[in-house]
C-alpha cells in the first residue's frame, strides 16, 4: 500500500529508453524497441486480463448495478438513485454504519496502543524476544473464522472459559453474544485481539529506523524511560502511526468473518456491519442492485481513508 504512491521509478526508467532513438544507430534501436514492446505486452497481458475481468470490470459493474433493481432472475431495471434513497431511509443500514464506526473506533486505537507499547518493549535485546513476537503475531496468521470459532466457545454462557474465569473472581457470567448490550463489545474484543500483531510488526520495523544516538544523548542528559518514550519514541513513530491508523481503519471497516461466526449480525442487529448488510442484501435477499449501492457507500468511506493514507505515505517519502 505504501508503495502504491510511488509511480516515480517508472518514469525514471522510461526516460533513457525514450531518449535512445536519437542515438546514431536509429533503425536498429527502434527495431529492438519494438521487440521489447512486444515482449513487455506478452508478459503483462495475462495479468491485465485477469485483473481487468475480475477486478476492474466488477468495480465498474458495481456502480452501474447500484442504479438498478436486479434480483438475478429478471433483467436489471434502471431505477436511478432509488437504491441510495432507500439506504438513506433504512434504519438497519444506518445502524450497521454506526456499528461499523463504533467497532472501528474501539478496535483500532486500543490495539494500536497495545501494539506500540509491545513494539517498544521488544525493540531491545531481550531473551525470548522472537518468542514474544511470535505469540503476539499468531492471531494474525490464523484464519479469522477458526479464531472466531474458538471465541464462540470461550464466550459460551454455560461452559465458556470467560464465565468460568469471571466466576473465580465472583463476577456473574453473561450470555455475551446473545445480550444486545454486550455482543458488540464481545466482537470488538476479538477484533482488537487479532489486530495487535500486524500493527506491532509495522511499529517494530519503524523503530529500527530510529537513531539510537538520540536515546544515548537523552540518557546522558538523565532522561527517564517515560520521558524518552514521550520525547523521542512517540514523535519518531508519528509517520508509522498514521500509516497504521489508516490501514487499520480500512481493515476494520471490512470486518465480516467474525460477525458471521459469532453473532450473525444479531441479536436484534446489534452487531450488524456495513459489509454484513451488503452480504444480506445480495446473497440472502438477492437484491443485487441494493447491495451494490450499499457497497458503493462502503467504498466511499474507504476511499476517503485511502486518499488520506496516500497523502500520508507520500509525506514520509519526501
Amino acid at each position: 500500500m505504501s508503495a502504491s504512491t510511488r509511480p516515480a521509478p517508472t518514469t525514471r526508467l522510461l526516460r533513457p529508453a525514450r531518449a535512445l532513438p536519437s542515438a546514431p544507430r536509429r533503425p536498429d534501436r527502434s527495431r529492438s524497441q519494438r521487440k521489447l514492446s512486444r515482449a513487455g505486452w506478452l508478459m503483462v497481458t495475462p495479468a491485465v486480463a485477469h485483473i481487468g475481468l475480475w477486478t476492474a470490470l466488477p468495480v465498474l459493474a458495481t456502480f452501474a448495478l447500484s442504479l438498478t433493481d436486479y434480483n438475478i432472475f429478471d433483467a436489471p431495471r434502471w431505477i436511478g438513485i432509488d437504491n441510495y434513497i432507500q439506504i438513506w431511509n433504512d434504519p438497519t443500514f444506518r445502524l450497521a454504519t454506526w456499528n461499523t464506526v463504533v467497532y472501528t473506533f474501539w478496535t483500532v486505537p486500543v490495539s494500536m496502543a497495545i501494539a506500540m507499547v509491545i513494539a517498544v518493549a521488544l525493540n531491545q535485546n531481550l531473551w525470548l524476544r522472537t518468542w514474544y513476537r511470535t505469540a503476539f503475531f499468531l492471531p494474525q496468521v490464523t484464519a479469522t473464522v477458526a479464531i472466531a470459532m474458538v471465541w464462540l466457545w470461550i464466550y459460551n454462557p454455560q461452559q465458556g472459559l470467560l464465565n468460568a474465569a469471571l466466576s473465580v473472581i465472583g463476577i456473574p457470567g453473561q450470555a455475551w453474544l446473545a445480550n444486545p448490550d454486550w455482543s458488540l463489545w464481545a466482537v470488538i474484543l476479538v477484533g482488537a485481539w487479532q489486530g495487535i500483531g500486524i500493527k506491532m510488526l509495522i511499529y517494530i520495523a519503524a523503530l529500527q529506523n530510529v537513531d539510537n544516538s538520540l536515546y544515548e544523548a537523552a540518557s546522558v542528559d538523565g532522561a527517564s524511560v517515560v520521558r524518552k518514550f514521550f520525547a523521542i519514541t512517540l514523535p519518531m513513530l508519528k509517520p508509522a502511526t498514521f500509516f497504521v491508523l489508516v490501514i487499520s481503519i480500512i481493515g476494520a471497516f471490512q470486518v465480516f468473518d467474525q460477525i458471521y461466526v459469532l453473532t450473525d449480525g444479531g441479536p436484534a442487529n446489534a452487531t450488524t456491519m456495513m459489509t454484513y448488510e451488503v452480504y444480506r442484501s445480495a446473497f440472502q435477499n438477492f437484491q443485487m442492485g441494493l447491495a451494490s449501492a450499499q457497497s458503493v457507500c462502503l467504498f466511499a468511506f474507504l476511499l476517503v481513508m485511502t486518499l488520506i493514507s496516500r497523502r500520508a505515505t507520500r509525506g514520509d517519502d519526501e
Binding site: 508503495a3 521509478p9 506478452l42 470490470l57 466488477p58 531481550l126 466457545w153 461452559q159
Partner: protein, 308 residues
C-alpha cells in the same frame, strides 16, 4: 568491537562498556519480561484452550467450572471428528485452492511485475497506473459482480453462449481457483522487488542476445527467490484463510474449504465442541507451522504489504 572502547584502568568485568550502559537494571528487565510473558500468554490462551478442548470428552466438557487440562487425553476425538464431518476433504480442498492461487500468482504476477519494472514497453505507465488504481479496491466493491460473472459464465455449467440457463461456474473448481488467483498487490510487490535489482544485468544479457523471457526467467527471477517465497507465503496464507468467496460460490459438501466446513459444522451441530475444536485445530495448525518455520518471509511480506 567492545575492546576498542576499553579504557585504561578499567577492570576486566567492565570490558563490554557500551552494553552495560544501555542495559536496564536487572529488576527492570525482569519486570519487563514478566509483563511481556503475561501479555504473550494472554494472546495464545485461545489457542491453548482450543487444543485443550479438542482433547476432552463430552462429559468433561459439560462440567462447570471447566477443567483446564483434559483429565483423559482423548486423541480419538480427532479421528471421530473426521467421521462427523469430512474435515480431511475440506483440508485437501483448501490446500489445492491455496496451492493453485500461489502458483498462478507466482507465474503471472512475477511476469507482469518484471515487465512493469524492467521492460520499457509502450503504454507501460498506463498499465501500471491501472494496477495501482486496482490496489485500493476493497473486496466488497467487487463481490456482487464477481458472483454474477461466475454465475453467468458462458458455456459452463449448462449456460448458453449468453450465460443464461445454467449455473455457470458455481460449485466448480474454476470459481474457487480462477477469480482469486491473482491480485494487484502481488503484481505490485513483484514490481518493487524487480526494480531493486541492478540494470547492468539486463543490458549484458540483451547484448548477449538473450530474449526478454529468458532474461526474466533465467537472470532476474533467480535473484529474487526470497521475494518469491514472501509472496508465495502471503498468497497461500490469504487463500487458506479466505472465507467469504468459497462460502458464496460453493454449496456442495465435496467442494467445501476448511473455513466454510467449520462454519457449516458449527451451524449443524452446535454442541459437539470437542469435534469442532479438533476441526479448528486442523484449520489453524498448517498456518501456525508455516509461520513458525518461515517467520522471516512472513514478517518481510506483512511489513511490505501492510494490509492483510
Amino acid at each position: 568491537m567492545t575492546t576498542t572502547r576499553m579504557q585504561p584502568g578499567t577492570t576486566p568485568a567492565a570490558v563490554p562498556k557500551p552494553r552495560i550502559k544501555r542495559r536496564r537494571p536487572w529488576k527492570g528487565r525482569l519486570l519487563l519480561n514478566v509483563i511481556l510473558s503475561l501479555g504473550a500468554f494472554t494472546m495464545i490462551i485461545p489457542f491453548l484452550w482450543m487444543i485443550a478442548t479438542s482433547l476432552k470428552s463430552p462429559a468433561e466438557l459439560a462440567q462447570f467450572p471447566p477443567t483446564l487440562l483434559p483429565q483423559v487425553w482423548q486423541w480419538s476425538n480427532y479421528s471421530e471428528a473426521l467421521q462427523a464431518a469430512p474435515f480431511h476433504l475440506y483440508f485437501r480442498n483448501s490446500f489445492l485452492i491455496s496451492a493453485g492461487h500461489t502458483i498462478i500468482t507466482l507465474v503471472l504476477g512475477s511476469m507482469a511485475g518484471y515487465a512493469l519494472a524492467r521492460i520499457p514497453f509502450r503504454g507501460r505507465e498506463w498499465v501500471f497506473m491501472g494496477f495501482v488504481a486496482m490496489l485500493m479496491i476493497p473486496t466488497y466493491t467487487k463481490i456482487v459482480p464477481q458472483f454474477l460473472l461466475v454465475k453467468f459464465m458462458p458455456l459452463f455449467g449448462g449456460n448458453d453462449i449468453f450465460g443464461q440457463g445454467g449455473t455457470g461456474w458455481l460449485n466448480t473448481w474454476w470459481a474457487l481457483i480462477i477469480p482469486g488467483g491473482l491480485s494487484a498487490t502481488a503484481i505490485f510487490l513483484f514490481r518493487q522487488f524487480y526494480l531493486s535489482l541492478p540494470r547492468e544485468l539486463e543490458e549484458a544479457a540483451r547484448l548477449d542476445g538473450l530474449n526478454e523471457f529468458r532474461i526474466y526467467a533465467q537472470i532476474y527471477t533467480p535473484l529474487i527467490k526470497p521475494a518469491l517465497a514472501t509472496v508465495a507465503l502471503l498468497t497461500f496464507q490469504e487463500s487458506w484463510n479466505n472465507f467469504l468467496w468459497p462460502l458464496l460460490v460453493t454449496t456442495r459438501d465435496d467442494l467445501r474449504v476448511i473455513q466454510v466446513g467449520l462454519a457449516v459444522f458449527q451451524q449443524l451441530d452446535s454442541t459437539s465442541w470437542h469435534y469442532l475444536m479438533a476441526g479448528t485445530t486442523l484449520a489453524t495448525v498448517p498456518m501456525v507451522v508455516l509461520f513458525l518455520f518461515c517467520q522471516k518471509y512472513f514478517i518481510q511480506g506483512f511489513t511490505h504489504a501492510g494490509i492483510k
